[in-house]
């Protein structure tokens, strides 16, 4: 209990009669980098706004170090936010923007000046103190926004899709810098994004959300390697998700062929979802492997080829370092370890699963 800094306890929120969050529980540990990941409308931003105090939940409680802060306004919470649109004050210089929170706290001029210098150095913007936000690029503005938030030494830094407006190259650069900043300042980060790659790169723990419900929680690796339902598998990375029938322990029937796998404990002849990552499929000569199909497209992606193989009704996605001929008949094979078997959800609510502690 000691290291839990923030706890959401059965939080609910709806807008205009539409349920956004439903009995949402979440614990965030001190110094953790937690990412809320999900498609737009999944409730991740609302969760962040509830933590920040910008929205009041309809039901449930927000506990900060064990104390109920549900009805505290944003200015009375020891959290700071980095907004997607930067939201720098256009009438103030970079230094004045960063000083904003500290001046309200009536810190000494010396303290404020030191903090500004430290924060600007941290985000690699040391020579920009006197510039106006309008004269900065998007990436630079976001650096200032991060500096403006962390000088206040919040217990938790909330980041609402902070890199969403930046181009790909800059986004990768900022991802690395955010990790560096996180290490340097040692505060808890709660990060919201719909970009699964961003989440996998940066987070200690990922919370995959859909329709206001947690679909899965875990480390990047556990979520990528062992998605617990079809939604997570589909959302995190590319996946082949295909219907299968569990013939017995360690044997699943896919497209009429029995394929060995490593999963046990399913019912005999139970209908399941089978998840196979494109990079785990191997193209072999026709007649070999489990699946026989025709190459229908091939796209060069730099490090690999993305190849589509049509077999019956299903189009398999395969990543391979070797090219293939369009129209050629090939076989597909896979190692038992790389097959992920999941129960079919019975209903929407049945999709809810949580990582076993």
């Amino acid at each position: 209990m000691q290291d839990v800094i923030l706890q959401l306890d059965a939080v609910s929120k709806s807008f205009d009669g539409k349920m956004i969050l439903k009995d949402f529980d979440l614990e965030i540990k001190r110094n953790e980098f937690v990412t809320l990941l999900g498609p737009s409308g999944c409730g991740k931003s609302t969760t962040l706004r509830i933590i920040g105090g910008f929205e009041k939940p309809d039901g449930g409680r927000v506990l900060f170090e064990g104390k109920d802060v549900t009805s505290l306004s944003p200015d009375k919470r020891n959290v700071n936010t980095v907004f997607q649109k930067y939201s720098l004050f256009p009438h103030m210089s970079v230094a004045e923007n960063i000083a904003f929170g500290l001046r309200l706290k009536k810190k000494s001029k010396q303290y404020i000046d030191d903090k500004i210098a430290y924060a600007l150095k941290l985000v690699n913007m040391a020579s920009y103190a006197q510039r106006k936000p309008a004269s900065l690029s998007g990436g630079q503005q976001q650096r200032v926004a991060i500096a403006r938030a962390i000088v206040n030494e919040p217990e938790i830094l909330l980041l609402d899709e902070p890199l969403g407006a930046l181009d790909l190259k800059l986004r990768h650069e900022m991802q690395r810098e955010l990790i560096k900043i996180k290490k340097e300042v040692g505060i808890t980060f709660v990060y919201v994004t719909h970009d699964q790659e961003e989440a996998l790169t940066m987070s200690d723990r990922i919370v995959v959300m859909n329709k206001g419900i947690i679909q899965q929680m875990g480390t990047s690796k556990s979520i990528y390697d062992e998605p617990q339902n079809a939604f997570v598998a589909d959302f995190i990375g590319d996946s082949n998700i295909i219907d299968g029938i569990m013939k017995q322990d360690r044997l699943v029937r896919i497209q009429g062929v029995d394929v060995p796998c490593v999963d046990e404990g399913f019912g005999r002849d139970e209908l399941v979802d089978v998840v196979i990552r494109p990079e785990d499929l191997v193209i072999v000569a026709e007649g070999q492997g489990y699946v026989r199909g025709m190459v229908v497209s091939i796209i060069f992606k730099g490090a690999y080829y993305e190849i589509k193989v049509r077999a019956g009704e299903y189009e398999w996605s395969v990543q391979s370092v070797n090219p293939a001929q369009i129209g050629a008949m090939v076989g597909l094979t896979i190692l038992p370890d790389n097959i992920q078997i999941m129960h079919k959800p019975l209903s929407e609510d049945a999709e809810v699963t949580k990582e076993d502690e």
């Binding site: 306004s73 700071n80 936010t81 939201s87 706290k105 206040n152």
Partner: protein, 278 residues
């Protein structure tokens, strides 16, 4: 569509306006200057322009200044709370509030002023209500207060509209960012809303200060002819005294005075954004 063609400047489109300005602004202005700088006999003189420093004119000018500054300040004090309240409303309600605000402008100007005369006169509607409520009647008729009420009533929309436009443009994210950094509602207003609405505020000041400084009809009706604004003095030079030279001279002085006051206001303007008037 050829983009180059559509982007081409077309100065000749401004011709109707240019003709209008030349015929009805520039030429009359030159005529006024000519009258102002000549005596009745046609000789060059600065006497008409300098006549503003005569005590009776100076008194009218100072009274005008008092009315204009007071009206401007009260309009600002009335506008900001209204605008802040409107900011929270949805689009439909905002539109309705603006509609209510400008509704009086659809009625004849003289009629509106005469209505105020009726309300404020000693046996008027206001005193009737005060007496019914068991309170002492006020004698507001023909006072500076009556004139002040008249100009505020008339020019308030010109202050609210530009300030509303400026405040409505401020992104809600900025307000949330300020809240996030520890600002309470008052601090958000002082540090974010107010500085970012300065361009609108300056437009409002220009649009309220100048006409209230130069008005004469409102003072005529609500001041009962006893209290003279500089506008009334000028009007009387043209009508009663038929001294166009003196009237023009005082007009030119007033124009200079307004220009100097406005230059003083715009000096404080924030860099980058300029108000829409200047």
């Amino acid at each position: 569509m050829n983009e180059g063609k559509t982007m081409k400047k077309r100065p000749w489109l401004a011709t109707p306006y240019a003709v209008w300005v030349a015929g009805f602004t520039m030429i009359p202005l030159l005529v006024i200057f000519q009258y102002a700088l000549t005596s009745r006999e046609g000789a060059f003189t600065l006497a008409n322009v300098m006549a503003i420093f005569e005590p009776v004119h100076l008194k009218a000018l100072l009274f005008s200044l008092e009315i204009a500054v007071g009206c401007t300040i009260i309009c600002i004090l009335l506008s900001y709370p209204l605008v802040m309240a409107m900011r929270r409303l949805n689009m439909g309600r905002q539109g309705f509030t603006l509609f209510i605000l400008i509704l009086p402008m659809w009625m004849n100007f003289i009629l509106r002023i005469l209505a105020w005369q009726l309300i404020l006169s000693n046996n008027g509607i206001l005193n009737f209500i005060l007496q019914k409520a068991g309170l002492l009647p006020l004698s507001l008729a023909n006072t500076g207060t009556a004139i002040m009420i008249g100009v505020i009533y008339d020019y308030l929309p010109y202050m609210v509209l530009p300030i509303f436009n400026a405040v409505a443009e401020i992104d809600e994210d900025l307000v949330e960012a300020a809240r996030d950094l520890g600002a309470n509602s008052l601090t958000v207003f002082c540090k974010v809303i107010l500085p970012l609405s300065v361009p609108g505020l300056l437009s409002g000041i220009v649009m309220v200060f100048v006409p209230s400084m130069t008005s004469f009809v409102i003072a005529d009706v609500l001041g009962g002819g006893k209290l003279q604004l500089i506008g009334n003095v000028i009007e009387q030079e043209f009508t009663k005294s038929a001294n166009w030279n003196m009237g023009s001279g005082l007009s030119v002085s007033l124009m200079l005075f307004v220009l100097i006051s406005m230059a003083f206001t715009t000096k404080n303007e924030t860099e980058g954004k300029s108000s829409s008037i200047w």
